[in-house]
Symmetry: C2
Subunit: 319 residues, 2 copies
């Protein structure tokens, strides 16, 4: 039985990679800039050059079960990255095949949100669970759905786009998709910022620490959090509003797949109970009886810095 897996997380800016053992310890890790290479092959060659000493250090390729890759628009079925808006590479890139040929190892690829879910199942708080959903509240809202212990991929590999489900008919415009009222337009970092600006402008008479941050355009979910814990009313209202919408969306997801748990991850979760409490309340209020007080709503326990590599590496342990 192999002892190690390689995890590669391809982000819009950085590609992180590392050697991971079965217990989720990252033994070696490094990163490269994703878009600094002319071609995909050069990118892969660079990864290979950097990973080879790491692989040798723990005993060589025979100690490895394979390579897992999380990438935007990564398709598990095909092993391709397909039309990723944030990457320099255009069109359809057969990345899994190319990496496998270079390394001589089995390669599994999926999108980053699905990789996060597999990471939770293998190393995180979903260990032992067969039915759960992970929601990443970051720049966007990503999701990974696990049913019967398997990631839901759908007939084409693109399932699990819960951030784009509409939760407020005719609501806020999402500039990327053109949809109105989707979860991502509220529960992402961008969404929280927009809610802040809306509430400040709708309540011109209400004093708020946040007004200082508007001058140099410094409102982020982090600054909202800092103001909220100081008791700022508008900052607290922002989390109440965001949690309300998120909780309603989670209730819809529960009525779809009846998961044992929903695991939240990403920048917004740093707001702790300020976002968790209204989210849980709204979720429970929006469920029919049979689902009430059953679903564990929790924060991921994985370190954000490690989670991407762990999730990617977990893809090859999965079977």
């Amino acid at each position: 039985m192999a002892d190690f897996a390689i995890g590669i997380d391809i982000g819009g800016t950085n590609t992180k990679f590392g050697v991971v053992d079965r217990h989720g310890n990252i033994l070696e890790q490094d990163r490269v800039l994703t878009n600094e290479h002319e071609t995909v092959q050069e990118f892969i060659d660079d990864l290979h050059a950097k990973l080879t000493p790491m692989i040798e250090k723990v005993g060589g390729p025979s100690k490895f079960t394979g390579i897992g890759i999380g990438a935007p628009n990564g398709n598990y079925y095909t092993g391709n990255i397909e039309y990723a808006a944030n990457l320099k590479w255009r069109g359809i890139i057969p990345l899994a095949k190319m990496v496998s040929e270079k390394f001589g190892l089995k390669v599994k690829l999926t999108n980053d949100a699905n990789a996060a879910a597999v990471g939770e199942m293998m190393y995180g708080c979903a260990k032992g669970m067969k039915h759960f959903i992970t929601i990443t509240l970051g720049t966007g809202v990503g999701s990974g759905i696990v049913i019967d212990g398997k990631i839901v991929l759908g007939h084409d590999g693109f399932a699990g786009e819960l951030g784009h489900t509409v939760i407020r008919h005719g609501g806020r415009l999402h500039k990327g998709t053109g949809l109105r009222g989707s979860l991502e337009s509220y529960a992402s970092a961008t969404g929280v910022r927009e809610t802040a600006l809306e509430l400040l402008s709708a309540n011109p008479q209400t004093e708020s620490l946040l007004r200082d941050y508007t001058i140099n355009d410094l409102i982020t979910s982090q600054t909202v959090y800092e103001c909220a814990i100081k008791g700022d009313k508008i900052a607290n209202d922002i989390f109440e509003f965001t949690g309300q919408i998120l909780g309603e969306a989670l209730a819809n997801f529960v009525m779809f797949s009846s998961p044992e748990a929903i695991i939240l991850f990403g920048g917004l979760t740093k707001a702790g109970d300020l976002i968790m409490n209204p989210t849980r309340q709204a979720m429970e209020d929006s469920l029919i009886q049979v689902f009430k007080n059953k679903v564990k709503l929790m924060y991921s326990e994985l370190k954000e810095a490690d989670a991407a590599i762990l999730g990617a590496s977990a893809l090859v342990w999965e079977e």
Copy 2:
């Protein structure tokens, strides 16, 4: 290999049952009133008395793979009917076990909406599909979700309650659940009727054939349909409105599980293109690019009179 299965569909009023072959032919069928027996055991004894000659007629129990039962609040994992509001039997009824003991055959039980989905997969237009969703637009809105060729049951067996997902925040009150704006409060027979009354009352100056039906409280989705095909504006608006909401909800479901097809079934589908066209339009408008023009939206081809028995019987072929 066994040639036949028994399908039993337990409804609020009638329990239908029959002998079905692998091709979906119902060779024998009959029905009993669901609530006319004092006890569950008497109900089962009655079913046994009526089914025994049917079983013998095609060669006896050895020719049968088992018995499938569709029932309100039927739980596949436990084989129990749990707290079904429309049935006389209270609490938790271990129906699968009781029926199996009486007949000496394997018994599988699930709720009626899941049975409908299995029926489509075995005998209907989902034959050969691994990823699809069935939506029953009847008195209520039921749903059965199939992923990787298996019914989605969730961690407790209660998954697939898509009729209760909220699609209009703060919208119409659903008297049964207390939720506001759920799909069922619009896209069910009751919902269509309520929409009709709302639109008639909101447009007092608009002539409508439907006004004649209000006198004796005769507005149903059927009468709305009859007026709509005669060109009645309000009747057509009712289907437009219903289709808009249904289509938006379907888009949310697509972004969850990325099915190959969504199959609509039940009374409302008799309105044909009047409901299909706005539904399809709204669904496509509410999808992100990667899902557009991919999902087959279709009507079930199973006869409504047969579908319940077929769906139930299909449960035992499933494996």
